[in-house]
């Protein structure tokens, strides 16, 4: 079955903060409910901890680090899942049960199978 990335965009929040306990509980429930199709994923620390890396002048050029995420937007990438689903309809149905779908948005994208 094809693999889909469910990429979660929310307000920039810290999953480890105690006030997020309710939301992380919701995610735990999703994790249990969708255990059979989850093939991977991660929750990310807030963008305040992010470092954007760029190499200037081509491969092996100068490494330039900047503080923060690549783009300043209201909703940021806060985590993702890899879900194994029958087709897009199935993937959309599953993604709609991720709490981020009602706290923000979930982008569903097919994962490339390089056959390796």
């Amino acid at each position: 079955m094809p693999l889909y990335a469910a990429i979660i965009y929310n307000a920039d929040l810290d999953w480890t903060a105690p006030e997020q306990a309710d939301v992380t509980k919701e995610y735990q429930l999703f994790g249990e409910a969708a255990a059979s199709i989850i093939r991977g994923g991660a929750a990310l620390y807030p963008t305040a901890t992010a470092t954007t890396v760029r190499v200037q002048g081509g491969k092996h050029g100068d490494i330039v680090q900047t503080d923060g995420p690549y783009a300043e937007t209201k909703e940021v990438l806060t985590g993702f899942y890899l879900l194994e689903c029958a087709d897009l309809d199935d993937a959309v149905k599953q993604a709609a049960t991720i709490p981020g779908a009602w706290d923000g948005a979930v982008e569903v994208r097919p994962v490339i199978d390089f056959g390796m």
């Binding site: 094809p2 029958a86 087709d87 897009l88 309809d89 993937a91 994208r109």
Partner: protein, 433 residues
């Protein structure tokens, strides 16, 4: 009337058919069968790209062969077999080139003997629901529907939608790629999803019909045929989903609007308003069919009014009036009240205001019109206001309203019409120009 759908379409449409494609009956047989054949091939090949190429090839062969030898007893089976053989060639060639096994399941399925579609009707529904999948943008849905459901070529679609051909090619390629890569399934939605998904289908089909109906320049014959194709596809859907009031309403609406098409433009191509149309030139058979359909759809949606059914009821009120003066405006205003209650948007309120104007006079309509928010950039709002101001005996304000409409984007025939109405306010200028 619905039962007659299986017979071949009217061989001579009012405007003389589609000269770019050869307006022959043979061409129409091939085209009508082509839609069903494509719907099956998309399922058996699992690919829009391969299915479209294979079916196009089979249709060309059919035109050559049938012209010479006559139409075979089962044209659809002939087309499916020919297209299937072509698809097998295409997949084999593709596999040899890319040396991959991706399409092997489909190749096996194709090579297994399946000369006839097992459920050709279901395939058509699959095709419709896939083309109108909510994960595709509306523009992509319309383009893909025109390509696969109506059998238009990419240059024809580009001309019909007034888009450069390269843009249309890119749009169609992106849509097909998304269907394949993102895994949009080729299936009819489950019962619980059906209402939402069907709403997407009816909206897209009506957009498609309107592209033809709006006649905003471009190739007129192509546009008439676009309307007829939209009607044909909707008719096939009504046959397959007879309990859906919304589909019935949509078919009624299309028939009742298209029935007036012969009287909507003058011999020189100018716009003729409903009030001035020669009603003897309306298609009274289409009106009769539309009225029966709308009555039926109203009974089926009595507890749950549907946008298309209500719009069809309004169209029926117009089509049944023997003269403009005898139109039942009170009934039309009531139908618009229902439509507005369905949250049909500001254009429904604009049309309601026009009907109020016919019932209660221009001042009442102007009050309604000025209360509508959100149409400031809509040329028909200003143009309608101008017409009402003329009737209310306020020519200076009318002039300003016409000028406002003309500052906004308008298709050529409509622009010409507004300019002519503006000029009629100043007969002296008209003489001097």
């Amino acid at each position: 009337m619905i039962g007659e759908a299986a017979s071949p379409p009217d061989p001579v449409p009012p405007n003389g058919g589609r000269p770019s494609l050869g307006a022959t009956t043979l061409d129409q047989v091939v085209r009508a069968e082509g839609r069903a054949v494509l719907a099956t091939l998309v399922r058996t090949t699992g690919s829009f790209e391969i299915a479209e190429e294979a079916v196009q090839d089979a249709m060309l062969r059919a035109l050559e062969r049938w012209e010479r030898d006559g139409v075979p007893p089962n044209p659809r089976a002939w087309l499916i077999t020919t297209a299937r053989n072509r698809a097998i060639d295409l997949i084999r060639r593709e596999r040899a080139r890319a040396s991959k096994e991706v399409e092997s399941t489909y190749l096996r399925r194709l090579e297994e003997d399946e000369p006839m579609a097992d459920q050709p009707g279901d395939d058509l529904l699959r095709l419709v629901f896939t083309c109108c999948h909510p994960s595709l943008g509306v523009e992509a849905q319309v383009a893909l529907s025109l390509r696969t459901l109506c059998g238009l070529t990419t240059p024809e679609i580009a001309r019909a939608l007034l888009v450069p051909e390269a843009t249309m090619t890119k749009r169609l390629t992106r849509a097909r790629t998304k269907i394949r890569v993102a895994g949009i399934p080729y299936r009819v939605p489950d019962d619980h999803e059906l209402p939402d998904r069907l709403a997407g289908v009816t909206t897209t089909l009506y957009l498609l019909f309107n592209e033809g109906y709006a006649a905003s320049g471009g190739d007129d014959l192509l546009r008439v045929s676009l309307c007829e194709q939209a009607i044909e596809v909707t008719r096939e859907l009504v046959e397959r989903m007879p309990d859906e009031a919304s589909l019935r309403g949509l078919l009624a609406l299309m028939l009742l609007q298209h029935a007036r098409s012969g009287a909507r433009t003058s011999a020189t191509g100018a716009v003729v308003l409903l009030a001035d149309q020669d009603r003897s030139r309306w298609d009274h058979d289409a009106i009769r069919e539309g009225v029966i359909l709308v009555g039926d759809a109203l009974r089926r949606s009595a507890d749950d009014p549907d946008r298309f059914v209500v719009e069809a009821a309004i169209a029926a009120c117009h089509d049944l009036a023997p003269t403009y003066a005898s139109t039942d405006w009170a009934a039309i205003v009531s139908w618009y009240d229902v439509l507005v209650s369905l949250d049909a948007g500001p254009v429904a309120r604009l049309n309601r205001a026009v009907a109020v104007g016919e019932r209660d006079g221009p001042e009442a309509a102007l009050a309604e019109l000025d209360a509508i928010v959100g149409l400031e950039r809509y040329p028909y709002w200003s143009a309608t206001r101008a017409e009402l101001l003329v009737r209310a005996g306020r020519p200076d304000e009318a002039r300003r309203a016409y000028d406002e409409a003309l500052r906004l984007p308008l298709a050529d025939p409509q622009r010409g019409f507004v300019e002519q109405r503006r000029a009629a306010l100043d007969p002296d200028d008209l003489l001097n120009s």
